[in-house]
Amino acid sequence: MGDSQYSFSLTTFSPSGKLVQIEHALTAVGSGQTSLGIKAANGVVIATEKKLPSILVDETSVQKIQVLTPNIGVVYSGMGPDSRVLVRKSRKHAEQYYRLYKEPIPVTQLVRETATVMQEFTQSGGVRPFGVSLLVAGYDDKGPQLYQVDPSGSYFSWKASAMGKNVSNAKTFLEKRYTEDMELDDAVHTAILTLKEGFEGQISGKNIEIGVIGNDKIFRVLTSSEIEDYLQEVE
């Protein structure tokens, strides 16, 4: 990867032992639109703001929440173009796993591979780290799972997490509201309320996106009318 002219890593240690390029990448994530995920007893929900630069943009052409496999979905905070690269690599990896083992890839393994890719870009020559953090939501034999992957390539499993602009308020809100025995529907309501906390302007089915996966193990993105229904329940 990279030209021979750039066979040296651009991400190097500072005298204090920090990798500043990764820190800057995290800053880029922190200035991205808020997204969050909640793991319920019977499923996982991920959600994000979908603020578009102008009313002239056709919002049906934009989908931030992406499907990686039929039972795994992902949302990002940070630089959209970088997330597309990771989505493509993850999908390919999942497909290769299936081709080899004739079994859907376990969530942990897909997350680990994606994280490995992100780590490689912090160490390889001539490239910069990815400016995104990912929230991966999946449901496999081990049950519902939610993972967050950072630009450094480190990943953790979360019961609930948030990223982007409003992260501290969102996390405080989630800490108060989260319960271990939450049902998926409650989780969706909580997700909407959390997004509402830091939302500038009027929240609607057109400026947020929600993805859910339940016991049926099928990840899907809700339509804007389904979101409107949830919004009315929350009012």
């Binding site: 990279g2 800053t27 994530v29 173009p81 910069r128």
Partner: protein, 246 residues
């Protein structure tokens, strides 16, 4: 103690600045504005129209060789705003990719697929140090078999969105403000309205009335999904219609 500006290279290649920004990408956007041309694209109910200025800097130049409007396939057009040389390489690669797509999959490359491909290529330049981002904003237009008329805009950062109307270049923001007002209530423009909105937006924003030879206009229409560059006579008809309307 962290160093201030990342060793000073964050302005030279696409690595992160301390604020988490990519200066090279931001400079690429500036290069698009510096070219001094403004372009407008408008999507109607059954057609898409793009308009751009045609500035011929020297009378000795052959005007027919100066263009920012490129057919990529018979059905897809690309309007490049910004650095002409970068635009030409992009167009060349896009033409190749669209032709390969047709060969590989047996059907014409859809508008959004081409836009995504261009955007993904632009993203690579923002992440790998060995290539700088291109100083071009590309507007892609075509008629999608399922979704109808489509207008996409791709920028040096690797973003791409579908648009109801959009603009690029020197007076981008003023044009977008003008278009937002016009498109606020989701009007379904006819072909003539689409072309006239695009041309009058450009005239209003640049505050000058154009002659047919000073602008380039490209269209695709549902009834005739081929990408067409309008001739000076056709442009004249629209210009006359606009002035009579006002």
């Amino acid at each position: 103690m962290s160093r201030g500006s990342g060793g000073g290279y964050d302005r030279h290649i696409t690595i992160f600045s301390p604020e988490g920004r990519l200066y090279q990408v931001e400079y690429a956007f500036k290069a698009v504005k510096a070219a001094g041309i403004t372009s407008i694209g408008v999507r109607g109910a059954d057609s898409v129209c793009v308009v751009t200025q045609k500035k011929v800097p020297d009378k000795l130049l052959d005007q027919t060789s100066i263009t920012h409007l490129f057919p990529i396939t018979k059905y897809l057009g690309l309007l490049a705003t910004g650095m002409t040389a970068d635009a030409r390489t992009l167009v060349q690669q896009a033409r190749n990719e669209a032709a390969e797509f047709r060969f590989r999959y047996g059907y014409e490359m859809p508008v959004d697929a081409l836009a995504r491909w261009i955007a993904d290529k632009s993203q690579v330049y923002t992440q790998h140090a060995y290539m700088r981002p291109l100083g071009v904003v590309a507007m892609i237009l075509g008629i999608d078999e399922e979704k109808g008329p489509q207008l996409f805009k791709c920028d040096p950062a690797g973003h791409f969105f579908g648009h109801k109307a959009t603009s690029a270049g020197g007076k981008e923001q003023e044009a977008i403000n003008f278009l937002e007002k016009k498109m606020k209530n989701d009007p379904a423009f006819s072909y003539e309205e689409t072309v006239q909105t695009a041309i009058s937006a450009l005239q209003s924003v640049l505050q000058e009335d154009f002659k047919a030879s000073e602008i380039e206009v490209g269209v695709v229409r549902k009834e005739d999904p081929v990408f067409k560059v309008l001739s000076t006579e056709e442009i004249d008809e629209h210009l006359t219609a606009i002035s009579e309307r006002d």
